[in-house]
C-alpha cells in the first residue's frame, strides 16, 4: 500500500500535476505521526500511512494567513474518509475549488487515540509497539500488553460510516462504500436518557477542565474564520477566563458554528490537552441536523449545506413566536 502511495505521489510531483502534497511522516513520539509537506520528489520516501495518522490535514488548506489553498494552484492531499469529507465542505462553502485539489484516498481502518493508549499503559512510557492485524502489542519497562486494536481507536473511527474517501481523484487500493453502522449516535442517545441534573453535572465537570488553549478550534477543518468570535475584543463577545461558565459559552457557540459542517473527524478530541469529551456535543448537533434536515456533512459536492438551504416543511419549533 505504502509503496503504491509513494509511487503515485512521486508521479504527481514529477508530472507537475501538483505543487505540494500534504501527507504524514513518522512522528517523534511512540505511535505518533506528524504532518508532512512534500515539495520535492526526494521527500516522498518519508511519507507514511498507518493507524498513527491522526491529523486531519485538510485544516492546512484554510488555516491562518498561510492558507495553502490560496498559496498553491494545485495541491495534492492524502486523506482518510473524514478528511475527504472536510474537503467537500470547503468546496461546498467555496473555500477552495474542486479542480485545485488532487484528493488521494487511502484505505482507513481507524486511527489511534493516544489518550486511550495512555489509559491502558497507565501513563507509562511505551518503549516498543507493534500492530499486527487486529491486535496491538505494547511493551514498556514493566509492562507487556496485548489487546484488540479497537480498544484504542478513536471514538469517531468506531462509528465511522465512510472510512474511505467518498470523493477522490486517486484511491490507493479499492475503496469501500458506506460501512454499515447502527449505533452511530449511541453516546448521544445514552446521554439524553440521563436526568438534566446528571447531564449538567457531567458537562460542568468536563468544561471546568478547559484551559481555553483553542487547540480544538485550531485543528478543526470547519473552524476557518479569519477572526474567530473569541478573538474579537471590540466588542468582546465572551469572557476569556477558564471559568466554567465562560468555557461553556465558547464551546456552545463553536458547536453551533460547526453545526451541519462537522464531519466527526475527531481532530478536536485528540488535540485537547486535557482530554475533554467534546464529541458528545458534536454528535448531538450532528444528530439534530440529521433529524431536522436529513443532512450529513461532506458527502456531496452538489448538495447545498443544511444551514444555507431552506425548505418549507422543515421543523421550525426552535423559532420563538
Amino acid at each position: 500500500m505504502i509503496q503504491n502511495l509513494r509511487t503515485e505521489v512521486k508521479k504527481l510531483l514529477k508530472d507537475k500535476k501538483v505543487d505540494i502534497v500534504l501527507g504524514w511522516e513518522k512522528g517523534s513520539l511512540p505511535l505518533s505521526s506528524s504532518p508532512l509537506f512534500i515539495h520535492k520528489e526526494e521527500d516522498v520516501d518519508r511519507l507514511i500511512f498507518d493507524e498513527t495518522c491522526r491529523n486531519n490535514l485538510t485544516t492546512y488548506l484554510t488555516k491562518d494567513k498561510r492558507k495553502l489553498g490560496k498559496t498553491y494552484d494545485k495541491i495534492g492531499i492524502v486523506v482518510k474518509g473524514c478528511d475527504a469529507r472536510s474537503i467537500v465542505l470547503y468546496v461546498v462553502e467555496q473555500q477552495i475549488k474542486r479542480e485545485n485539489v488532487i484528493i488521494i484516498g487511502v484505505p482507513c481502518n481507524g486511527v489511534l487515540e493516544k489518550k486511550k493508549i495512555l489509559q491502558k499503559t497507565e501513563n507509562k512510557e511505551i518503549l516498543e509497539s507493534k500492530i499486527d492485524g487486529n491486535n496491538i502489542h505494547l511493551k514498556g519497562r514493566d509492562f507487556d500488553l496485548k489487546f484488540p486494536l479497537k480498544d484504542v481507536l478513536c471514538d469517531s473511527c468506531l462509528t465511522c460510516r465512510y472510512p474511505d474517501a467518498p470523493v477522490h481523484n486517486i484511491f490507493i487500493g479499492k475503496p469501500r462504500k458506506e460501512v454499515d453502522i447502527k449505533d452511530e449516535f449511541k453516546n448521544v442517545i445514552d446521554f439524553e436518557k440521563k436526568s438534566s441534573e446528571e447531564r449538567w453535572e457531567y458537562t460542568k465537570d468536563e468544561y471546568a477542565r478547559c484551559i481555553r488553549c483553542y487547540a480544538c478550534r485550531n485543528v478543526c477543518p470547519a473552524c476557518y474564520c479569519n477572526e474567530c468570535f473569541v478573538d474579537q475584543n471590540d466588542p468582546q463577545w465572551i469572557g476569556k477566563t477558564p471559568e466554567v461558565t465562560d468555557s461553556i459559552i465558547f464551546h456552545l457557540i463553536r458547536n453551533l458554528h460547526v453545526a451541519g459542517r462537522c464531519v466527526d473527524c475527531g481532530a478536536c478530541v485528540s488535540a485537547c490537552p486535557v482530554d475533554l469529551d467534546l464529541r458528545i456535543m458534536n454528535k448531538k448537533v450532528e444528530k439534530e441536523v440529521k433529524e431536522r434536515f436529513d443532512y450529513t456533512a461532506g458527502l456531496d459536492i452538489d448538495e447545498k449545506p443544511a444551514m444555507v438551504s431552506y425548505c418549507e416543511n422543515e421543523k421550525q419549533d426552535f423559532i420563538m413566536g
Binding site: 511512540p30 509537506f37 485544516t59 477566563t241
Partner: protein
C-alpha cells in the same frame, strides 16, 4: 538529611497543613495538575509532569487584580497561610526561578523595585518548595540539555527522594534548613540511604536521552532571525496555545476588564504568542500577523531574547509542549534544526 517512612507520610502532610496551604500534584478529572489539597489522599506522587504546570499556583490563568464599585476599588483578599508545594520536579522548580526574574526581581527596570509584581511576590516569596526527584524520567524529558536533571536540586527549598519505603529529605535553601530543623524527627545520615539515592540517581539518568550541546543555541538563533528556516519550522503549527499554556515558563499575559453597571473587575489572563491576536494593535495592524512570525517569537523568546535579558534560556526541558502538541511540532527537533542550520552564504 531526614527520613520519613511512607507510612508516616499522611502525618507529615497533616503537620505541614497546620502552617501552610499545601499544593501537590493531583488527578483532576482526566488530567493532572497542582492543586490545593484537602488531605494527603489527594496526592499523586506517581505523575512526573503534571499536564498543567505548577506555575498556575503563583500566576493563575486568570487572576482578579482588583474589583471596583462606585465607592472605590479593592484588591481581593489572599490566602493567609504561606504556600508549600509538594512534589515539584526539577524542571518546574527551575521554572519558578525564571519566572521570578520577570515578576519578582525586575532587575532591568529603570528604578529598583519599580515593577515588582505584588501578586506574584506575595505568593512566591514565602512559599516552601519540595522538589521530588524523578526516579523514572520520560522519553520526552530533556532537562539535561539545560543542565538540570532528575536529581538536580536547583530552585528548591527541600529536596526529596522517594525510595522503596521512605521519603528522604535534604535541605537546600536556608528556608528549607529552618523547616527541617524545626521538624522533630531528625535522623543521622546513613551510608545505606546515601547509596540507595546514588543508585536511584544513576538509573534515572540512564533513562534520559543523550544530552544535546546547546551552547551555540543563543548565537545561532541570533544569526537566523530572517532566514527561511522559520517557514519550515512553523509549517505544521496550527497556532493553538496548547504548548504555551502547559509550559511552566511561558508568562505572557493580557488584561481584560469585565464590568456591568457600576461594578466590575480587572482580570489578568494568560496570553499566548501563538494566538492570532497576540500583538494585534488597536489600529488593526499586527506586526506578527503570520503564523511563522509567531512561532519564531516563541522560539526566540525561549532561546534568545530571554538569554539576552537574563542570561538563561526560558525553557527547562520539561517536555510538556512536546507531549501536547497536536501536530507533533517537537521543540527538541526545532532546537536541533537551528543548531544544524547552515546559512546560505
Amino acid at each position: 538529611m531526614i527520613k520519613i517512612k511512607k507510612s508516616e507520610f499522611n502525618k507529615f502532610i497533616e503537620n505541614l497543613q497546620k502552617n501552610y496551604s499545601v499544593f501537590a500534584p493531583v488527578t483532576d478529572g482526566k488530567a493532572t495538575a497542582f492543586k490545593k489539597i484537602k488531605s494527603s489522599d489527594d496526592i499523586n506522587n506517581k505523575v512526573l509532569n503534571t499536564k498543567r504546570s505548577p506555575k498556575e499556583i503563583f500566576f493563575p490563568q486568570s487572576e482578579v487584580l482588583f474589583q471596583y464599585t462606585e465607592k472605590g476599588m479593592e484588591v481581593p483578599k489572599r490566602e493567609e497561610k504561606p504556600f508549600a508545594i509538594w512534589g515539584m520536579r526539577n524542571c518546574d522548580t527551575k521554572s519558578l526561578l525564571l519566572l521570578d526574574k520577570v515578576f519578582g526581581e525586575a532587575h532591568q527596570m529603570p528604578k529598583k523595585d519599580m515593577y515588582k509584581d505584588p501578586y506574584w511576590k506575595e505568593k512566591y516569596d514565602n512559599c516552601l518548595v519540595f522538589n521530588l526527584a524523578c526516579n523514572e524520567p520520560l522519553s520526552t524529558c530533556f532537562c539535561n540539555w539545560f543542565d538540570g536533571g532528575p536529581f538536580d536540586k536547583t530552585g528548591s527549598d527541600i529536596f526529596v527522594v522517594e525510595t522503596d519505603d521512605s521519603f528522604i529529605f535534604e535541605a537546600v535553601s536556608d528556608k528549607g534548613k529552618k523547616f527541617l530543623t524545626d521538624c522533630k524527627t531528625t535522623e543521622n545520615e546513613s551510608d545505606k540511604e546515601i547509596k540507595k539515592i546514588e543508585k536511584l540517581k544513576e538509573t534515572a539518568e540512564s533513562f534520559l536521552a543523550e544530552k544535546e550541546d546547546i551552547s551555540s543555541l543563543f548565537s545561532k538563533t541570533k544569526e537566523i532571525w530572517d532566514e527561511p528556516i522559520w517557514d519550515e519550522i512553523a509549517a505544521k503549527c496550527v497556532n493553538c496555545g496548547a504548548c504555551t499554556f502547559v509550559c511552566p515558563t511561558c508568562h505572557c499575559f493580557d488584561v481584560s476588564d469585565e464590568g456591568k453597571g457600576n461594578k466590575g473587575k480587572r482580570i489578568r489572563l494568560w496570553d499566548s504568542c501563538m494566538f492570532a491576536i497576540f500583538t494585534k494593535e488597536a489600529s488593526g495592524h499586527n506586526p506578527r500577523s503570520q503564523s511563522t512570525q509567531r512561532v519564531r517569537q516563541r522560539v526566540m523568546h525561549k532561546y534568545n531574547y530571554f538569554m539576552d535579558n537574563y542570561d538563561e534560556h526560558l525553557c527547562t526541558g520539561c517536555g510538556r509542549c512536546v507531549v501536547v502538541c497536536p501536530t507533533n511540532l517537537d521543540i527538541r527537533e526545532v532546537i536541533k534544526k537551528i543548531l544544524n542550520y547552515k546559512n546560505e552564504e
